[in-house]
């Protein structure tokens, strides 16, 4: 990172994921937090910053305060991040910003939901979004609708095929089959994708991410402090954020996300370009988001994402392994938190069977606002 204090991720943890009846979001988040503190080899009182993602269901007015109290710590920096699918990656921006401003030194970032456990249970509310009056009366509720509109337009403008979206699903499932902490581990084929039922056409079931319970946590501190800690530090080399819009309906084009600006900013800060990237953990709420993000990051030309994901190019052993943990599509949907923990695992070279050989630089993406808001992280192995 060019400006300010160099920061690193020194602790990382995931809970088990899947359908975990009887477990609450708070319980899962606290478990992840405690494991991350242990992983970092830190006394809990050295955590002086806490950033919490706002859960989608049962949001709280101050989740970071609640987490701090239950962990028995009194941080000098607390904040809650909403931003839906961009929220996890955005927590790292928040943590690094607070450290560089001198407000705190060591920040715990935590996210997680009890999404399946919540079904049928009374809710204290949910995070609403602006403009629902112009969507819900038309039967347009449910995340697949907006993303499918973008996918349809991508198919129209660039000739992208459903089978190419299927290649993303196949790659993620293959990677999840190598990940002991994944919800869906049975490999699938393009044919399985093509014969899965339509949800919101052009989306088939296997274009859609999972509904999951689970949590993840990471700890960010200065690179200097990281030197005294047990785990190989993972350097926060670059970060970028971009906001084009919050509602897809009213904006054009809808086949380009906010990623070009976010990635350009993050790559410039890190002093790398797409060719330097060894693997990518890309937010994959639906398969075409991976296709568009690959284009918008410059891994291929605009409109060439469909061809790029074919022939195993984004699988382990391929040109650019993507979502080495299985992603939201096959590992679990924990709001992108596990894209970060997986990048940390890869850059520590602790990924076992699914390790990317010689991984030095990885990117993580988060996005929300119906493709309009994007966060990019460029992370690097120790000693780069």
């Amino acid at each position: 990172m060019r400006a300010g204090t160099q920061c690193a991720i020194v602790g990382s943890a995931e809970t088990e994921v899947g359908k975990l009846p009887g477990r609450s979001a708070l319980q899962l988040r606290l478990e992840a937090a405690v494991k991350a503190i242990e992983d970092a080899g830190l006394d809990k009182h050295r955590i002086d910053g806490l950033v919490a993602r706002q859960p989608m269901r049962n949001p709280q007015s101050n989740y970071s305060g609640l987490m701090s109290e239950r962990l028995g710590i009194e941080p000098s920096y607390t904040t809650d991040i909403s931003l839906s699918g961009a929220g996890s990656a955005s927590m790292v921006l928040s943590a690094v910003s607070a450290i560089q401003a001198g407000i705190c030194t060591t920040v715990l970032c935590v996210g997680g939901d009890a999404a399946t456990a919540y079904r049928g249970q009374p809710s204290r509310g949910r995070l609403a979004s602006e403009g629902e009056d112009f969507r819900s009366p038309f039967g347009a509720d449910g995340a697949p609708v907006m993303y499918a509109l973008a996918a349809q337009r991508h198919m129209y403008e660039y000739g992208t095929k459903s089978e190419q979206f299927g290649a993303v699903a196949v790659a993620c499932r293959r990677h999840a089959s190598l990940n002991p902490n994944a919800q869906m581990r049975t490999p699938i084929t393009i044919q399985d994708h093509q014969s899965s039922k339509f949800i919101v056409e052009p989306f088939r079931l296997l274009d859609c991410s999972l509904v999951s319970d689970g949590a993840g946590a990471i700890i960010v501190t200065t690179a200097e402090r990281a030197q005294d800690l047990p785990q190989p530090p993972v350097q926060a080399l670059g970060m970028g954020n971009a906001c084009r819009f919050s509602e897809m309906t009213y904006n054009v084009p809808i086949t380009t996300t906010a990623a070009p600006d976010a990635a350009r900013r993050a790559f410039r800060m890190a002093g790398v370009d797409a060719a330097d990237v060894d693997f990518a953990e890309l937010y994959d709420c639906f398969t075409p988001v991976v296709v568009m993000t690959l284009e918008d990051y410059g891994f291929c030309g605009k409109g060439e994402g469909g061809a790029f994901v074919e022939s195993g190019r984004i699988e382990l052993g391929g040109e650019l392994p993507v979502n080495t943990h299985g992603g939201l599509l096959s590992q679990a949907h924990i709001g992108g938190m596990l894209h970060i923990t997986e990048a940390v695992t890869q850059l520590r070279h602790q990924a076992g069977e699914r390790q990317v050989d010689g991984a030095r630089v990885g990117v993580v993406s988060g996005q929300c606002g119906e493709l309009g808001i994007h966060v990019t992280l460029v992370l690097g192995a120790d000693g780069r």
Binding site: D133, G139, Q152, N251
Partner: protein, 137 residues
């Protein structure tokens, strides 16, 4: 027998959007036009996002549009729409420029395509609420 779940309806008394829904009830789509820079916009907002003026007037749209993108919903995410599947949700491009989310009706879903010319039609769903929908022109 279980009562059918109620369909979500817009809050037609919402301070920003009330004139829009009143227009629909009269059979017209109203758009906001900026009195300072002439930009025409949707959805309704307190200010022009181009020049930041708050001097906006309501102007009727022609009701002509085209399909910008569309999807066919096979699995309804709100129980009230289960009886409608498969149905079409589309981003439509109004002749005046702004886009809207709506349904394309009175046509089999497999016949809908991007660029298809549309004409507005109004679906009166309650005493207070009328929704603007579109059918092939």
């Amino acid at each position: 027998m279980k009562a059918a779940p109620r369909r979500p309806l817009p809050q037609v008394s919402d301070i920003e959007t009330k004139p829009f829904w009143e227009g629909c009830a009269r059979g017209e789509i109203l758009l906001q036009r900026c009195l300072d820079c002439s930009a025409v916009r949707h959805p309704p907002s307190p200010i022009c996002s181009g020049c930041l003026s708050s001097r906006l007037e309501w102007v009727p749209a022609s009701g002509n549009a085209t399909v910008y993108s569309f999807v066919v919903v096979h699995r309804a995410f709100h129980a009230a729409f289960e009886e409608d599947v498969p149905y079409v949700v589309a981003i439509v491009e109004l002749e005046e420029g702004p886009h809207m989310l709506s349904n394309v009706v009175e046509v089999p879903p497999e016949s809908v395509e991007i660029g298809m010319p549309l004409r507005v039609c109004f679906d009166c769903v309650s005493d207070e609420v009328t929704l603007p929908k579109f059918k092939p022109a």
